[in-house]
Structures are given as structure tokens and as C-alpha cells.
Amino acid sequence: MPQIAVENLVKTFRVSERVPGTWGAVRGLVARKYREAHALEDISFSIEPGELVGYVGPNGAGKSTTIKVLSGILVPDSGRCEILDRVPWKDRVAHVRDIGVVFGQRTQLWWDLPVIESFDLLKDIYRIPDKAYYQTREELIYLLDLKPLFDTPVRQLSLGQRMRCDLAASLLHSPPILFLDEPTIGLDAISKLSVRAFIRRLNRERGVTVILTTHDMDDIEALCTRVILIGQGRILSDGTLDDLRASVTTERRLIVDLMEEDGDVTDPDAEVINREGTRIHLRFYPDRISPANLIGRIASKHAVRDLFVENPPIEEIIASLYKKVGR
């Protein structure tokens, strides 16, 4: 029995449209035109306890809408959704006790209150028993290094600090399921690393099921055992990250920093796709040439300062997947 079961979920928004200009504004008063925006078209997946799933796709693909349906905030037009044997929007109050949700672009903390008072208020709202509350809070303080932030009003926190506090706030009631909507958006490198380390730990040590949406490939790479890719309200692929990549392309990138600009870098098994001064981006396929061989050949011909191998960025993978499905 999966923990989260979603079948044929459909959600359409009605968006009012206005003809541009003054005349359009006047007409809008009398007869308004509506456009149907299909946020979700037939979404199905199921998730077992303890999975860490990346839910990715471009802007407007339906990621946040899915999270909001799973959280019981939005009611879908049709389709089935059961989480821990409950229908989120029908049994909202019971459902939200068992989930934690963080929307990266919004805070759930009370803007004017010190962090600790927000936590205490959540304790009362979720009716967390004293003992469980203090124990969980201490753990979260330790894991997320929140001690120095306690007495600061939320409005004075930096984005990275706020995100750590928001993560803690969503977990005070020890939910078995956590939804994270772009938890690393706008964070600096160090904050991203600490947020990722925390999520990984939570999943491995506590067995919390995590669904996270992101645009950051590194989040996916660092965290997710499974990736669901969604575009225009439909699921495009569902599997491991390597499956996803392989289904599109096996391509790798080699980025070479030369000591000086010493002519063209050429190799029969690699193709130059970009060059900025002494930095050269090459495309190659590991099934035709191993990275070690390619690096050896280039290093023997040129004075190389630095080089590294990369996967193509997620945007490109998604873009090529779109082409593949003919959109």
C-alpha cells in the first residue's frame, strides 16, 4: 500500500482575460472573457514511505499546483488522491497534522514575532505535548544551528536563516511526510549545502518521505533517488536520475581552462560547443570515449590549467525531452 497515491489528477483554472486598452477595460466590465489554464492534466504516481522524490519541471509546469493539491489546499477537478488513506481536501484538518510543508518563496513564520515565539505558537496550534515539543525542538535547533537566531524577529533574518527556521517550523509536529516547494530558491552556496544536508539526514535517519520541487539540478543530484519530470501538466518521465538522463542523452560536458589561448582544441570524439577566452566547453559521449582518455588526449596537446566534467544542465535535458515528445 503506497503512502501517497495519485491517479488521473486534473486541475483547470479559469483565468479572466482582458482585451488590452481602454475599450478592452470597458468591455471587461460587461462581458468578461475567460481562458482555461490547464494546470494539471492527468497526473498519476505513487510514492512509498521513506522515498525522496524530486518533482521537477519548468515554470508553470504544475509543480506547485500538485503540491497544493497534495497538501489539501486546492481541490482538483477530478482524479483520486490518497495520502495515508485520507483524501487531503476532504479531511484537511486531520491530513495537515501528518504533513509538513515549506514554500520556499513564502514564510510560515509570524513576521513580527521572534522565531522562538512562532515555534511556541505552532506548538499550541498543533497541540504538541510538552515533552515531544521540547525534544523535537532541541534536535532541530542542533541540526539546523538555530540557537543564535532565536530572539531575532523573522523580518530581520537573512533568506538562508529564514529557510532554516521555516524547515524547523514545518517539522515541529514530527510529520512523516514533508513537501518542499523550491526550498533552495535564492539561497547562497553555503545555505544550500546545509539545507541539503539536513533534508538528506531527515530522510535517511528518520525515514521521512520527502517530495521536493526545484530548478536546481544539484539539489536533485545530491538528494533524490527518484525524479518525476512534469511539463504542461503531464508527467513526462518517472524514474532514477540516470534513467532520466539516459532517456534523453548520454552526453557529458568537458570544460577545459587553458593556460593561454593557443589555438583550437580539436578531438575526433568531442565537439566544441562554446568558448569564452581560455575556457572551452566540449561535448562528448562516454559510450564512444571514456572521460579519462579524452582528458589525456587534450592535456597532451595543450597546457591545461583546470578541467572538469559536467552533466548537461536540467533545463537542456527538459528542453530536449520536450522536443522528443513533440511539443
Binding site: F13, S64, K68, S71, G72, I73, L74, V75, R92, V93, A94, V96, R97, I99, V101, F103, Q105, R106, T107, Q108, W110, D112, L113, E117, L121, D124, I125, Y126, R127, D181, E182
Partner: protein, 263 residues
């Protein structure tokens, strides 16, 4: 219950911080009180017919109105408007709480906190200098106290209706302009309701607004005898219940069609 109580007390503590606003409100209320007293004094001085309220009763009525002005449901909760505008309202739906009750509690805290800061000083100032009289009997005082509690609940129910209308209008400008006109005139906070013409009395009696101002204040003055307090409280309770049911129904519809933009 504890959860809702925590929300009320947190909001209350937060709102008590706005001391500058309270000071400004206090000064304005006293200033307007003096002007209104002068206007009514002029009317009473120039009229020879017998009025349904005595001059001193009108003065007490006016000062009570000034003291409890902040309790009237003529504005909406700007924090909730911000939440709906920015989409942060999703977090309200993520709490294991009934949304209507949560917002009702916020409305009570909002009305209660701003009244608490203003009422006592105005009572003192108007009692010493401007002719606000104490209730004539203990029974009148008790009846008034209960009616004020009822007025707070009724006010919170009306505030909630205004707030819920935001789910359709987002900006709330329309309601924010319409409600003061309704509430101020129909509750008696501009002209005491007994001074309205006879043909208006039946309508005014039927509507809920008089229970915010008129009937509690007249209980205070003994203009409505204490033994009739029960009818006042019943009228309040029936309207409060009806408006709560209407609010719940609208909120259920509103959240079903909720579109959370962005993010």
C-alpha cells in the same frame, strides 16, 4: 480550544504594540466627541419639541460611542488581505484548525486590542470633563457588559464576512468603503437611533447593526430597562449565529474556488 486561545492572545499582544496608533486614535476620538456633543447641544437648544432621548442621555451615548469606536466592524483585517494578495494564505490552510474560527479569533483580537487601548482613557477623560455619566443602576451596568460582549461577537462575525469577501475581490476596496457607511449610520454611532424618524425604526430594529452600538448603550443608560436586556441579547445572538453560518458557507465556497497565484 487552546490553539484558538493562543492565536487570540498572540494577536492581542502583537496589536498592543501599536501605541502610537492608539494615541492618535484617542486624540481623534476625543476631538470628534467634543464636536459631536456641540452639534447635538445646538440641536437640543434650538428645539422646543420633546425628544425621545434627553440631552444628557445623548451626551453619554456619544461618549460611549467614542470610547468603543474601535470595536465597530467597519474595516477588514489588513494582515489577511496581505496574505490573500501575496498567497501566504496557503499556510492558513495548512494548519490543523478550522479557518473560519481562526479568522473569527483574529477579528476578536483585532477589535478587542484596539478597544482596550482606547476605551479606558476616554472613559476617564469624558467622565471627568465632558459629562459621561456612570450607569444609573448595577443592573443596567451588568446588562450593558453582556451586551458589549455580544457586540464584540457580532462585530467579529461581520468583520469575518468582510474578510471572506476578499476571496472574491482580492483588494477589498469596495467592501472597505461600503461597510463604514452601513455600520456607522445603521448602528447609531453617527446619530443615536432613537432620534431617527418613526418610519425607519422598524427596519433599524430588525437589522443587526443596532446591537453593536444602540441597544448596549441604551442598556447602560437605563433607557432600555435592565429586564429587557434578555431581548437585546437574544436579538444579538440570533443575528450572530446567522452571520456565522453565512460566513462559514461563503468561506467553504470561497476556498473551493481558491486560486493561489504564483510560487
Amino acid at each position: 480550544m487552546r490553539a484558538y486561545w493562543a492565536i487570540i492572545s498572540a494577536r492581542f499582544r502583537m496589536l498592543l504594540q501599536y501605541r502610537a496608533a492608539a494615541m492618535a486614535g484617542l486624540t481623534t476620538q476625543i476631538f470628534w466627541g467634543i464636536i459631536r456633543v456641540m452639534i447635538f447641544s445646538a440641536f437640543y437648544a434650538s428645539s422646543s419639541t420633546r425628544q425621545p432621548m434627553s440631552h444628557s442621555e445623548v451626551i453619554t451615548y456619544i461618549w460611549l460611542g467614542q470610547a468603543f469606536f474601535a470595536m465597530l466592524p467597519w474595516s477588514l483585517d489588513s494582515d489577511i488581505r496581505e496574505m490573500i494578495r501575496s498567497g501566504t494564505v496557503v499556510y492558513e490552510l495548512l494548519r490543523p484548525l478550522d479557518l473560519y474560527t481562526t479568522w473569527f479569533c483574529r477579528a476578536i483580537a483585532m477589535r478587542g486590542a484596539s478597544t482596550a487601548l482606547r476605551a479606558v482613557p476616554i472613559f476617564v477623560v469624558a467622565g471627568i470633563f465632558f459629562g459621561l455619566r456612570p450607569p444609573p443602576a448595577i443592573g443596567a451596568g451588568i446588562g450593558w457588559a453582556f451586551a458589549m460582549l455580544g457586540a464584540l461577537m457580532l462585530g467579529a462575525a461581520i468583520t469575518n464576512l468582510i474578510t471572506i469577501s476578499l476571496l472574491w475581490t482580492i483588494s477589498g476596496q469596495g467592501m472597505a468603503r461600503l461597510m463604514p457607511a452601513c455600520v456607522w449610520v445603521l448602528s447609531g454611532s453617527i446619530i443615536p437611533l432613537p432620534l431617527f424618524p418613526d418610519w425607519a425604526q422598524a427596519t433599524l430594529n430588525f437589522l443587526p447593526f443596532r446591537d453593536l452600538v444602540d441597544t448596549p448603550y441604551r442598556l447602560y443608560m437605563g433607557h432600555i430597562p435592565p429586564q429587557y436586556a434578555i431581548y437585546v441579547l437574544a436579538h444579538q445572538a440570533v443575528w450572530t449565529a446567522a452571520l456565522v453560518l453565512l460566513g462559514r458557507w461563503l468561506l467553504a465556497r470561497g476556498t473551493r474556488r481558491l486560486v493561489v497565484h504564483g510560487g
